[in-house]
Amino acid sequence: MAEPLITLRDVSRSYERGHDVVHALADVSLTIASGGFVALMGPSGSGKSTLLNLLSGIDRPSAGEVWVAGQRLNDLSEDALATWRARHVGLIFQFYNLIPVLSALENVELPLLLTPFNRAERLRRAETALRVVGLAARARHLPSELSGGEQQRVAIARAIVADPDVIIADEPTGDLDARSADDVLGMLRDLSREFHKTVVMVTHDPRAAHWVDVVYHLEKGLLLGVEPGDAERRA
């Protein structure tokens, strides 16, 4: 069994909305092994995205501890968290969220602007990442010139280009047709299997279970259960 890369201990997250307090997540504890491919599933409002925000250091828990890649995220300041994210987390969004005025190559280069690499090295790495997702030929195209599936592959290249430990994907197939969704899921699985990246994905897509190692089910902020994915069962 691989070492856990992500550990949550009794994590809760609540928000104040006017005079009300919304408990988005309550006493969630889980561990995710390094190199694992995990899906978080549940209905809307179940706390999936909140959990994803906490794992990626975008949000802070109201209670409990979040450990990722050996770092207790509770201890980090806002700016330290940003630096930590740049080094350890790759993010993939449902609607790609590429910068529309930058080419595919420049979008992929963005996280590398935060590294000490010179321009030539940044471009070399960005081109490599685009090659990994099969889009080297579309490097100079703007996002508006790419299909949804291609844009999501650019987003995946952007997520992996800085060689993070964890890839966080929020409904990465939510805006894609079935074929593109399979491509993306296959790519995420390859990142886990071939490149030993830990991939945590929120999804409503029932087919996702076919690709992942573990599925966590959440509802109303509670972790209801864990079941192995089809990939794990096959293994």
């Binding site: 995205s49 949000d59 700016d79």
Partner: protein, 388 residues
């Protein structure tokens, strides 16, 4: 520099808005640069009409008060003084032209050449001026305005003294901008003597100093000499004298500078509005950048840099255009001071271009700060809730 391409691409995403804002900033800086030539232009104008070795000595209480005529000889005796001429305001009105007035003074003719050598008055005219009691030397502007000729007689009615005097024009001050009318002090003294008055006062004593370096020392010495007397003096350089004399000009400059400030404020609001709209439209993108590791300082810096780059490029263009315009006019005139006269002072100098660019940079920086700060400090998770 590694973020410059990102900054430039963001500026180019709404070309119409960026262009219109840039034009507004450019025009405003262009206007400000022209306005900024006013104080310098007036300064140059005053420098052109004033000598750096000539000073005026007048009553400390102001020009309406008189000093004893005996002061003039005391002033001449001060070391460093080359010559001095005591003048008395006549306030002559030319009735034939509709009671118009111009600067007319009773002067000491034997000292005119020594006090105003830079006026280049014909020595023969000065000699006639000394010889004829009713002689007058008149500035070319006044000569041309009324079509007067040397040898002609003109009558002026004084608005100060109870006399009307007839003068014989014996020469001119060869300066197209000179409105002066000088005549002999003795002529005025005799005329008012008939009314039982004695001319024992002087309004201003114009003094020529041997060396510019001595000017401050002589002025201090003169004022000290008459301190605690019934008529204390205030000595000042000719340039300073004219600057005070043209007090309305200073008021005009003040108004211009206020307008300049308001123009700068307007353009600041325009730039701030553009920056604010740009940030609001890109809230999701900014949140994504912060999510992938762009720190608050970096986000703040790149957003402020956007408005600063836009303002600097637009403002710099406006400033350089004003420079090119005045340089072009200078070239077209074929000779700066000779052809353009007092306008030659209103020159957009490299220093003014620098001030215009500095204004543009400050406008860009200030305009970007508030929206950039807001975007950089908004919690990422709350923005991303819209994205996730």
């Amino acid at each position: 520099m590694r973020f410059l391409p990102l900054i430039l691409r963001n500026l180019g995403r709404n070309k119409l808005r960026t262009g219109l804002t840039g034009v507004a900033i450019g025009l405003a800086v262009l206007l400000v640069c022209f306005f900024l030539t006013m104080p310098a232009g007036i300064d140059v104008f005053l420098s052109q009409i004033a000598s750096n070795v000539r000073i005026s000595v007048h009553h400390k209480g102001g020009l309406v008060y008189q000093m004893p005529f005996a002061y003039v000889n005391k002033i001449r005796a001060v070391p460093g003084v080359v010559a001095a001429d005591g003048v008395v305001w006549f306030g002559g009105a030319f009735e034939e032209a509709g009671h118009v007035t111009f600067p007319s003074f009773a002067v000491e003719p034997e000292h005119v050449g020594a006090v105003w050598p830079d006026y280049h008055i014909d020595p023969a005219a000065l000699e006639r001026f000394r010889r004829f009691r009713d002689g007058a030397i008149v500035g070319r502007q006044t000569m041309e305005k009324y079509g007067w000729k040397v040898g002609q007689q003109v009558s002026l009615r004084s608005t100060i003294w109870p006399v009307t005097l007839t003068f014989r024009i014996v020469g001119e001050i060869p300066n197209a901008r000179s409105p002066l009318f000088w005549f002999q002090r003795e002529y005025l003294a005799q005329a008012i003597h008939e009314h039982g008055w004695t001319l024992s006062i002087v309004g201003i004593v114009w003094v020529r100093i041997a060396d510019p370096a001595l000017v401050d020392g002589v002025m201090t010495k003169l004022d000290a000499m008459f301190r605690n007397s019934p008529a204390e003096t205030a000595a000042e350089t000719e340039k300073s004298f004219f600057a005070s004399y043209f007090g309305s000009l200073q008021g005009f400059v003040a108004i211009i500078l206020v307008v300049t400030g308001l123009v700068a404020l307007c353009v600041l609001c325009i730039a701030a509005n553009t920056a604010s709209m740009a940030v609001r439209e890109r809230a999701r993108e900014i949140a994504v950048l912060r999510a992938i590791g762009f720190g608050r300082g970096l986000v703040f810096g790149t957003l402020v840099a956007e408005s600063t780059v836009l303002a600097t490029v637009a403002g710099g263009t406006g400033a350089l255009l004003t420079y090119a315009f005045t340089a072009g006019v200078k070239l077209a005139a074929g000779g700066w001071s000779t052809q353009l006269g007092p306008l030659s002072g209103f020159l957009v100098s490299p220093a003014i271009v620098g001030q215009g660019i500095l204004l543009a940079v400050v406008v860009g920086l200030v305009a970007g700060i508030a929206p950039a700060y807001g975007a950089a400090h908004r919690p990422v998770a709350s923005v991303l809730r819209e994205v996730f």
